[in-house]
Amino acid sequence: MTGTWLPYNTLVVAAGVAAVGLAAGVVGSFTLLRKRPLVGDAAAHATLAGVAGAFLVSGRRDLPMLLAGALAAAVAGLAALVLIRRFTKTRDDAATALVVGVGFGAGIVLVSGITARGIPDGAGLETFLLGHTAALTAADATLLAAVSIAAVAVVLLILKEATLVAFDAEFAAATGWPVTLIDLVLVTLVAVMVVVGLPAAGAVLVTALVVIPPLAARQWTERVTTMLVLAGGFGLTAAVAGVAVTSRVPGLATGPVVVLAAAAIFAVSLVFAPRRGLLARRQEARRGRAAEEHRP
């Protein structure tokens, strides 16, 4: 490693993870607007089993292979969620808890089994639990960035249709839009983002990368487009903060740092945002009371 402040590889990884953070915020905005923030959770917790499964099948630990396995598992988790909803009377939140628990349990059993049996090369898999960007190569980061940019491009392409369905699915259906198809595209994007977010945030925390930046962004604006820009910016900031901190502290997992950075942004937004922030709302309430008292 050279003596520069940030080595080349770290810079490339930071740029790749920045793109992931941005795309997670943009894609996540629509799960929030569609009132399905936990969809990503079911997908995320299933990914670990996919990572372990891909490793067992291929016997190698290269990132594209592992992420392909993760994506398959994420889709399986979401399919399980849909099937439980359709064929049982289980409530949505209970169904989500079920899929999260079972998916994650399976993942832990597989990963710890691989580690315990000392399968060569298997020791690093647990980094997918909490995220570990220090292990990423420049090629890995480029892949993550490319997928992220593609995800953002899809959102921008169907911005009009997605906004319509998120706001009023019944009107969308009445005017002839294929609501299920549009929902399917959005859910697929969430699954993809959860998967490419794994190296940055890990299976446990990657949902936070999809949920928290949009929540923070919603505080500052009353427009969908502005919300997307802000959520992307917040996600990017949190992701870069995670890479920057963990690249200098060996052994520190990236996910928790990313999530804490995002949470800090959210806390500031919650308190200080104009109009929707706690301070602004308190002031508004006070003005309201004052007006009430001055009324003759």
Partner: protein, 257 residues
């Protein structure tokens, strides 16, 4: 499309939710442009009937035809105003954004609203008296204003047939009047306006023709001929005290005509 097919025709329509029948064997033909009220007590399946017409709920039996065609071939000609409570008004969009949604079906995939759509949306907003509030977030409107935004969105659809689900529910008197004025304009422009409505008192004054619904069709036709004490008794079995007031409303209407 067949030239002499009725504007809207329900043929033996039955709908069930989760095995529970909601409406059954409704036969209803609307063959001329008018203000048409669908009247009945709470839970009578009035909204379900509209949703069945739009293909939003599956039919257990029967069929619905617009101009003799199934809904999927005429969607662009059918404007829809859903109940106000069906959406989250805290959603981060402006009044203008929502009204523009009425133009999306015509635009099709990926195309964004241009100046033509903007103009249409602005005109629609002006017709419901909300031109000044175009840039406001929709949560910062009164209930009556929100309802008028939904009406403006339907106007931006530029349709020939309009289906409205309880447009007067929870709406202040001024907004009610404005909405009714727009509906009258639509009728004057030779459009069919079908309104699900629960308030018998105003129904007698507003609609040219009505259908009384209580899970099945009780009666349909010209308002004065349908809103008879006998028909009302059969529709509102449990709400007898209403009937007297309605009788008075109808009598009052007769005097002013």
């Amino acid at each position: 499309m067949p030239p002499d097919a009725p504007l809207l025709e329900f043929h033996d329509v039955s709908v069930a939710y989760g095995g529970r029948p909601e409406i059954w064997n409704v036969d209803l033909t609307i063959d001329r442009a008018c203000l048409f009220g669908i009247i009945g007590p709470n839970g009578a399946g009035k909204s379900t009937l509209l949703k069945a017409a739009l293909g939003l709920v599956p039919l257990v039996g029967g069929s619905v035809r617009f101009h003799g065609e199934p809904i999927d071939r005429v969607r662009r000609d059918v404007g829809y105003v859903p109940q106000r409570e069906t959406v989250d008004w805290d959603f981060p969009v402006t009044v203008m954004d929502v009204v523009l949604m009425g133009t999306y079906a015509r635009l099709g995939w990926f195309r964004r609203p241009g100046s033509r759509e903007q103009t249409l949306a602005r005109e629609s907003l002006a017709r419901v008296g909300l031109a000044d509030l175009a840039t406001r977030q929709i949560g910062r409107l009164s209930g009556g204003q929100q309802q008028r935004v939904f009406l403006a969105r339907a106007l931006a659809q530029d349709a020939g047939i309009y289906l409205l689900d309880e447009p007067m529910a929870g709406v202040d008197a001024a907004s009610q009047e404005q909405i009714f004025a727009v509906l009258t304009e639509l009728r004057a422009a030779d459009k069919l306006v079908v309104v699900v409505h629960h308030d018998l008192r105003t129904a007698a004054a507003w609609f040219d023709r009505v259908a009384l619904i209580d899970r099945r069709l009780v009666a349909a036709g010209p308002t004065a001929a349908v809103l008879t004490p006998d028909n009302l008794r059969r529709t509102y079995a449990g709400e007898i005290d209403l009937l007297q007031e309605v009788g008075q409303a109808i009598a009052a209407r007769g005097r002013t005509e």
